[in-house]
Amino acid sequence: MDIKVNVREAPGDCYVVDLSGEIDVYTSPKVKDAIGELIDRGVYYLVINLEKVRYIDSTGLGVLIGGLKRVREHGGSVNLVCTNPQIKKIFDITGLVKIFGIFESEDAAMKALA
């Protein structure tokens, strides 16, 4: 079990973080470090692509919430790409759909950041 993290620059002052695998108490520090590193560099507009994430728990949600909190302090934003029904369900039942922009495609998530 592992998580793969890929960070790429996108048009505008935006970065995309591609996550692939499972985000839990073991793997979430790797995600936290990647997001934290971007924010430390002054990147405050992020799209986090969860399309290839098979599993996420509260520690993973905590990392995403922490990232959102930090970018908002700088007037930034985090949008998520999520198509997996089970993962969408977790955002639904925790009420996080109300604080994250959640989109079906990366294009839609990018456009909504602008």
Binding site: E22, V25, Y26, S58, L61, I65, P85, Q86, K89
Partner: protein, 144 residues
């Protein structure tokens, strides 16, 4: 649904894992395997996996947790009963206070909220003396 399993004999699976993050995946896969013996949907099996992972994470994040987590999964004809216990505690100080900041405590609360939402019955005891002891039940819909 798993149409291959028409009548389930009571089955008990016990697993002891080290109380470390890298072992939580094994606990949730074990629970999913037992859940698959019952007539749960794929979505319900995912619920069980998440609930077990949240319970194990709660143990690991509890101050002064023991060396092991004991997971017991009991497949009954109409339900799955899962117990997650903190085990192998040595020299725990009664005065030990949770060493969490406010945000960490909120995330831990999210884990308990998820367990309560995804499972049908949940009872738990968290104390400085005995650590975390959590019992949760998922019932099979349309049980015989």
């Amino acid at each position: 649904m798993n149409p291959a399993v028409e009548h389930v004999q009571p089955e008990l699976v016990e697993l002891r894992i080290p109380s470390r993050p890298e072992w939580v995946a094994l606990a949730r896969l074990a629970a999913a395997t037992v859940a698959n013996r019952l007539r749960f949907s794929i979505e319900e099996i995912e619920d069980v996996k998440l609930a077990v992972a949240e319970a194990c994470t709660a143990v690991i994040q509890h101050e002064g947790h023991g060396e092991f987590i004991d997971l017991t999964c009991e497949a009954l004809s109409d339900s799955l009963r899962i117990r997650v216990r903190d085990s192998g505690r040595h020299g725990v100080h009664l005065a030990a206070a949770p060493n969490m900041n406010f945000d960490e405590a909120r995330i831990a609360g999210l884990g308990i909220f998820l367990i309560r939402t995804l499972m049908d019955e949940v009872s738990y005891d968290v104390s400085a003396q005995t650590g975390t002891d959590l019992l949760m039940v998922k019932r099979v819909a349309f049980a015989p």
